[in-house]
């Protein structure tokens, strides 16, 4: 395989909170190759967003990367000077967020914001930038782009704002797009349109996408590979086929069973994962999942598990990986 586009190695992130230091990300590693869509799934507090923000150098003032490396085409970009970030962010790596309304300036027209994004560090003229904005809006499925560019974000629907934000992130043709729950606040019919759009853009530009979500359905739908996070660790990594066919970590298996299927006919009881989501400021010893795990053994309560290989390109952080799913 070629050298990865982005390689996250043993990333560790802490946040300063009211009750002391919280270890939000505790040794996460993964690679993304050109044109690949990697899904990062996990529940609240799993560290998925903190991982994404670290890659972009966008952690807020209470967050700090305390270990590991983020290599972009072989170059460690963590701790780069501001000027290097300016070259990367927006131009090489784009990002879209869960709440598009909050990311657009309500006082500036959409067209002007797009023009700004296009001109930033690119030396494009006003006319070129406007033309690029219009053609990109059309590409992301905005039917009447001429009218939309003159509007303010408050006049647009959530789906339309998300399209504008995607256009803004893509206007300088980044090689990597980080999408942090891009469809969570949207309705399913609009979500389907956005997913379709991301998939076609990936094919056209050979763009890689780091797709952060909590929805296993979406992962199955567009991702090539998946990284399941729990309590700041990547508990399982592999291709979508391997992970969905034979989840090795009890948490991954539990997540899949907890989703009711639209196709299921009978009103069978849902299989839930017992207990409560992990609290990062009071992590249990040993494997962080052990209090909720049905397969927990004595060893799990004492020693944090190593990451083991369970198949080709399929790894799992569990002392007793499941064989052939549940």
């Amino acid at each position: 395989m070629n050298a990865p586009l982005l390689s996250v190695k043993d990333l560790q992130v802490t946040f300063r909170g009211d009750s002391g230091i919280v270890n939000a990300v505790r040794g996460v590693s993964f690679d993304i190759h050109d044109g690949e869509i990697l899904g990062v799934v996990g529940e609240s507090g799993s560290g998925k967003s903190a991982t994404a923000y670290s890659i972009m150098g966008l952690l807020n003032s209470s967050g700090r990367v305390v270990g590991g490396a983020v290599e972009y085409r072989g170059e460690n970009i963590l701790g780069s000077p501001r000027s290097r970030w300016d070259e990367l962010r927006g131009r090489r790596i784009g990002m879209i967020f869960q709440n598009p309304m909050a990311c657009l300036d309500p006082m500036i027209t959409v067209g002007k914001q797009l023009r700004e994004a296009a001109q930033c560090h690119s030396g494009m003229s006003k006319a070129e930038a406007d033309a690029a904005a219009l053609s990109l809006l059309a590409k992301v499925g905005v039917a009447d782009a001429d009218r939309i560019v003159r509007q303010y974000s408050s006049a647009l629907s959530g789906g339309m704002c998300q399209r504008v934000m995607i256009a803004m992130a893509l206007i300088q043709k980044p090689e990597l797009l980080i999408a942090d729950e891009p469809t969570t606040s949207l309705d399913v019919t609009v979500q389907a349109q956005i997913i379709q759009l991301l998939d076609s853009l990936r094919k056209e530009n050979n763009m890689a996408i780091l797709f952060i979500t909590h929805d296993m359905g979406l992962v199955a739908e567009i991702c090539d590979s998946v990284c399941v996070m729990y309590a700041g660790r990547a508990v399982e990594r592999g291709s979508v086929y391997d992970v969905f066919d034979s989840p090795a970590h009890p948490y991954t298996a539990g997540l899949m069973k907890a989703i009711p299927s639209v196709e299921a006919g009978t009103r069978s009881r849902l299989v839930s994962i017992e207990g409560v989501p992990v609290n990062l400021s009071g992590l249990p010893g040993g494997c962080p999942f052990h209090p909720r795990c049905t397969f927990c053994e004595e060893k799990c309560t004492r020693v944090p598990p190593d990451t083991v290989t369970v198949g080709e390109g399929h790894t799992c952080g569990c002392w007793y990986p499941l064989k052939g799913g549940l």
Binding site: G158, V188, T189, A220, I222, G254, A258, V262, R269, S272
Partner: protein, 323 residues
């Protein structure tokens, strides 16, 4: 309708939006809705944001006064009556449980307040026992009465809010997106709890959610709402496996299937755009601007809400088009 616990006839709820800068508009949040819910049944209400599903739920409880139409509860018209005797029998749980709890009060105090206001329990210790008993019913420890709402996770808070509604012994419970704010692994716990309580206590639910798989799982019958109207209604299995309305089929097709080998892809669906606003409902069929099968008639005339097979209703001129 054999044992309808609650029913609505031609129910309307319109809101007038006033603005200094533009003429006031009328939003038809609930537009001529008729439905009944049998005793012990779970009726699911699905639809996209701003389709009026929450407003319908609240109007049924008369937390919003209906603009017109009637609501009948146990055979009695309650559209105009004093709701006081009905409040404890008809309850609602919300998406954000913490929003309905005073963060400064311990759980015990929150329960005590409700019990006192409704004259249940003779003295403080009696009320404390009732509170503890109900916390155990929802799978929490009785010691929880000594703690504050913020000490609990989202799933536990939802359990507490369910316990608090149950102490009034309701018959009818409107569940307004009760699992939407919860993590996937916790959602299943709450759904299972609601199902267990229904069996134990014979509760009747109106279950409102935009999460189609969950509604499919928990409901006996389902109504699909679009811009204030129920456009399809039928048994849960029929609405999901043989939808009549093009909007319902598009909605079903949009749900991603958690199987990478599935040949069905949500991406291949045909409808575009989004739901629009209740203040400018399109003429004719309200779905026609997004409908891939729309023709002249759909633009001009509103289709009737017709029964296509026993108990399966749909409001569409071309109900088989999407098949």
């Amino acid at each position: 309708m054999g044992n309808a616990l609650i029913s609505a006839e031609h129910l309307n709820k319109h809101f007038t939006v006033k603005s200094w800068f533009s003429p006031s508009r009328t939003v038809r949040a609930v537009d001529d809705v008729s439905l009944y819910i049998d005793e012990g049944e779970t009726f699911g209400l699905v639809g996209e944001t701003s389709c009026g599903k929450s407003t319908l739920g609240r109007t049924l409880l008369r937390l919003h006064e209906p603009t017109s139409g009637s609501i009948v509860y146990r055979g009695k018209d309650i559209t105009k009556v004093n709701m006081r005797p009905y409040r404890s029998r008809m309850q609602i749980i919300f998406q954000d449980p913490a929003g309905s709890m005073d963060p400064q009060m311990k759980i015990g105090g929150l329960f005590d307040e409700v019990l006192k206001a409704n004259g249940i329990g003779e003295n403080t210790s009696d009320r404390l026992d009732i509170s503890k008993e109900h916390l155990q019913m929802v799978g929490l420890k009785p010691e929880a009465v000594e703690r504050y709402p913020s000490e609990f996770s989202g799933g536990e808070q939802q359990r507490i809010s369910i316990a608090r509604t149950l102490i009034l012994k309701p018959e009818f419970l409107v569940c307004d997106e009760p699992t939407s704010a919860l993590d996937v692994s916790i959602q299943a716990q709450i759904i299972n709890l609601l199902e267990d309580l229904q069996k134990q206590l014979g509760l009747t639910y109106l279950f409102i959610s935009h999460n189609l798989p969950i509604v499919r799982h928990i409901s006996d019958r389902i109504g699909v709402m679009y811009l204030g109207k129920i456009i399809e209604l039928g048994s849960s299995s029929e609405v999901y496996s043989a939808p009549l309305h093009p909007y319902t089929s598009a909605l079903m097709a949009s749900v991603p299937i958690p199987d990478p080998r599935s040949t069905h892809k949500a991406m291949t669906q045909k409808i575009h755009g989004d739901i629009g606003s209740g203040s400018s409902v399109p003429t004719g069929c309200r779905f026609h601007p997004r409908c891939p099968y729309a023709e002249e008639r759909c633009r001009l005339e509103e289709p009737p809400f017709a029964e296509h097979s026993p108990g399966h209703f749909c409001s569409c001129w071309k109900p088989d088009a999407a098949r």
